[in-house]
Symmetry: C2
Subunit: 220 residues, 2 copies
DNA sequence: CAGCATCCGCTTTGATACTG
DNA sequence: CAGTATCAAAGCGGATGCTG
């Protein structure tokens, strides 16, 4: 096997077109999403985060992105003993691109088909963008969110709202249910009572959740 | 003719994937670029801004983007008397995505092949992102830039630097030459003397140009 | 001429099977 | 686990033709 495939490019002296030459192929940006939202991953981890990708395509894209200096593969020391894929600093700089695109796309989740695949980490970072802490002077809070394949935490850190995978010792509230209901609640499309009527489970003081408010459009 | 083509989607309940379902196809974002950087355009104008696109693909993409609510077609009144393609408000909101991507891609112009196609308006908005006015308290300046197919103006407006297509009555300086030299000068890769040695023509007080400085990395 | 649609050959993608 | 090999289907690029 030899990889001398000639890259298809737009051939335009334009910064946007050059960016698309690098990350415009199908699946490429979603691979970056996996590494950006989850950190360094094994081949199998990435594939699990990209249901539907053909394995040969994943291998191709990883080669291309490495070639372009966006990712880097590294032999992990024991006990992992496998190769891990990392973002390079240059790849990390795509964060602002991902953030802008995820923000633009959040409203599209409203009428998404019900049989979409779902992974918790796809939603954690974007969801936090839309939330603000109405009373940042009060003690910080942490809400455990159980939807999808992994638990998440939404927490306040000095005025900002962050979301991440993982758990927390003693959450101030626990939110559980199907992804759509959780998201609709978070972005303010449903209130707590409505969400409960549709299958959401909530434990804890409603005040805790009430402290987080969806930002106004354009405020983000 | 009937357009029941099944849209290919990632099938992921993820805001980024949903965005890519809409603007992830080849050429789609470049069509948005044309409308965003140039304003409403005729079919032919768009095609001229996208050298290399097959005309049937352009027609397809315009249909898809219209369907998705990103663009809108409108019958222009005389004397134009043709249909104009506009961005919808929703399409305008892609500006932040384009800005992030163009910013990421600007360094890639450094080693771009010399036979790339070029249009002035591809560069005007992105280039200004990298420039700041070192002495915003002094009177505003305007520099005429002649490179590519259309004249541009780089000007200071209350502290910020903007670039746009068009001309100005009495520019404080005039910059002319091949795109690469002009860009390398603007982003600080070359100084005025070096750029001149490579074919750049400059008329006016060098002080005028010196007032604009490329921002430090990460400052943008 | 502006705004497409059709046809054709090539490339990319998707699905699955197989391997060190 | 981390890929490669194979093949069918879909997408793309280029040329050309049609219609108001």
């Amino acid at each position: 096997m030899w990889y001398d495939a000639v890259m298809r490019t737009y051939g335009q002296y334009c910064p946007l077109a050059k960016t698309l030459d690098v990350i415009g192929d199908r699946w490429s940006l979603l691979i970056v999403r996996e590494l950006l939202f989850r950190g360094p991953c094994r081949y199998t981890d990435i594939r699990n985060g990209l249901p539907g990708i053909a394995t040969n395509l994943l291998a191709d894209r990883l080669r291309d992105l490495e070639q372009a200096g966006v990712i880097r593969r590294e032999a992990a020391p024991p006990p992992v003993a496998t190769t891990l894929f990392h973002l390079t600093p240059r790849g990390e700089e795509l964060r602002s691109v991902l953030r802008a695109m995820a923000q633009w796309g959040l409203p599209l989740l409203g009428d998404a088909p019900g049989d979409d695949a779902f992974r918790s980490h796809w939603l954690a970072p974007p969801a936090a963008i839309y939330l603000s802490d109405t009373t940042p002077d009060r003690p910080p809070i942490a809400i455990e969110v159980r939807t999808g394949d992994e638990p998440m935490v939404i927490e306040t850190v000095d005025g900002a709202v962050r979301a991440r995978l993982g758990a927390v010792e003693r959450p101030d509230a626990v939110l559980a249910g199907p992804p759509r209901i959780v998201i609709d609640l978070i972005i303010g499309k449903l209130d707590l009572a409505e969400a409960r009527a549709r299958g959401l489970r909530y434990e804890g003081d409603p005040e805790v959740l009430g402290r987080l408010q969806p930002r106004a459009i354009g405020e983000v």
